[in-house]
Symmetry: C2
Subunit: 374 residues, 2 copies
Amino acid sequence: MATGTGTAMDRPSGAQRIYNFGAGPATMPVEVLERAQAELVNWHQAGLSVMEMSHRGTEFVAIAAQAEAKLRKLLAVPATHEVLFLQGGATLQFAGVPMNLLRGKKKADYVNTGEWSKKAISEAKKFCEVNVAASSEDRNFTYAPKQSTWKLSKDAAYVHYCSNETIGGVEFHWTPETGDVPLVADMSSHILSKPLDVSKYGLIYAGAQKNIGPAGLVLVIARADLLGEVVAGTPNVMNYKLQSDADSMLNTPPTFSVYLAGLTFDWLLARGGLEGIAKVNAHKAALLYDYLDGQDFYSNPVDREDRSLMNVPFRLRDDKHDAKFLELAEARGLSQLKGHRSVGGMRASIYNAMPVEGVEALVAFMQEFARAHA
Amino acid sequence: MATGTGTAMDRPSGAQRIYNFGAGPATMPVEVLERAQAELVNWHQAGLSVMEMSHRGTEFVAIAAQAEAKLRKLLAVPATHEVLFLQGGATLQFAGVPMNLLRGKKKADYVNTGEWSKKAISEAKKFCEVNVAASSEDRNFTYAPKQSTWKLSKDAAYVHYCSNETIGGVEFHWTPETGDVPLVADMSSHILSKPLDVSKYGLIYAGAQKNIGPAGLVLVIARADLLGEVVAGTPNVMNYKLQSDADSMLNTPPTFSVYLAGLTFDWLLARGGLEGIAKVNAHKAALLYDYLDGQDFYSNPVDREDRSLMNVPFRLRDDKHDAKFLELAEARGLSQLKGHRSVGGMRASIYNAMPVEGVEALVAFMQEFARAHA
């Protein structure tokens, strides 16, 4: 799919890498990949790969501790919150959240803003009654329901929402207010894209394969005082309290993925942390949305104030041009622009690691294609 | 821990890598690491890393399909059995096995041969009554209980055993007979070390971080007709039937780990498959055990017929020499020889990727150390 047929001149420089607009697993910073490559067979002259290190050895324990410290610095995670590096992706946490946060209660509130919300709701129903407190299904998931429309339960164990819907391209640019009921967010596709007030959340989780590192790692940040009581039948490795007590090493962690996450955190810190990357992300998104809004060959269906800065879906005026658009884009080294099958059209995911030049190249191509096919 | 201080001359050749005798994550074939290194930033001139590929894209789908095909070839997996590449390690499967295999029954038989058996039993008790059909606890887990001593239940959903205990160094060199009751094995630390008759098993599982690849991947091979009914509250990603129907991609798989597993399978096929590697493994184990049996400075506690060809625990006659032994070994590039805290002493894990030269170097060092400290 990503094997472009363009010439070297068409491609981004640097080992002729493509611009990969895939939604995840997604493009990673080339500097991170190059450092991982240099260290792969013999890490820091220690005579072995990170992959070969014992997770109980001093070297890997330091790698993991530094990864956590860097993440805590980036997100300014307060001491009240535990940071866990686990396996199973966000999808396993769809079960992990109710397993760990119901704490004897029978109900949880969920906001439904698209495909990932629906999956979280479906999994939660195995463990409790789900109250859908708000939904944007009435307008095909093209907006974030305003807080004033939310119908929260008084007896909910927690309130769950997906703060950036990867498929629909809808992002919450505000933090919901849920009073004493813990707020839980699936932030898989926009975590680390901008500053975040972690203290407002009971629990945050995020699959790594967008802004953190390779697939196979999932981040959980949870208020420590919420942890400890789990639903009967919760596997030990899904028990956040046990994992927290064991520094995420109740079982063997995905060591190489944790190491790569640490390299990505270094990369972010070197770019001014989340404030620095947020400026770049805002600039990239503006390039694309401003172009989309200034013509009528392409369109984005999302309410302006709720548009995602990470995932930008768009449609061509006539979908008969879709195949040609994708073919020519691929040849230009602009890869994985096909939209999710549930919404059709195109989608450009422009995560932290997508350089500004990639978005500029995409907009230039879109202009050229529109002129030729209008 | 693994940062040896020996000179280059003391070390194995090839980028001065150490000989890593750790139990897992463990040494990997240097040829696999070098190929992964070469391909890391730009795989096959496709312009991206394997880590960055969509798991739904043609390239990664082919990588995953080839990994499965190679594994099926190596193990001669019959068409009756599904092959799954999942997350969460063997430890998550301690829960996954009862969740998927109880099929409405209330009891399962477990054989207790050491630390990993005990963990599997403890997790299974969350889901069913566990009958410990046999145990070697009476002699501190230094043997594999003979089949004639097993007290199997008539109404067990399955019979579970750990076919190689990594910590105790005990290996079953025979396949238990359980009639119509499905046989389940945790083969984490010796899978792919020798030919195996998969047809005798209802389910086999194995964490990758010994003979398959990096931590964060777990292999499950299951008889298809046993799958489909799960315990209430089983997360979707732990439902083997759902994963099987989705080619292990119900959620985003640990893509880079699957790719590395495929490279390891290539490496094994190039070495004559499991028959080829079994000969090398038998030779390596004989080098070490023959030496251990021919002197009295070191000793191995396991019954001869049950000794593991992968994990070789041994003690020094006087443990006052332990620290010096480890220090000098480390300086020689012989790393991670410290035994598990629950048994003490030393342990040499000599998985597929440990070259014969590594075992020869270890035996030479042990002889030298014994002469100096006898």
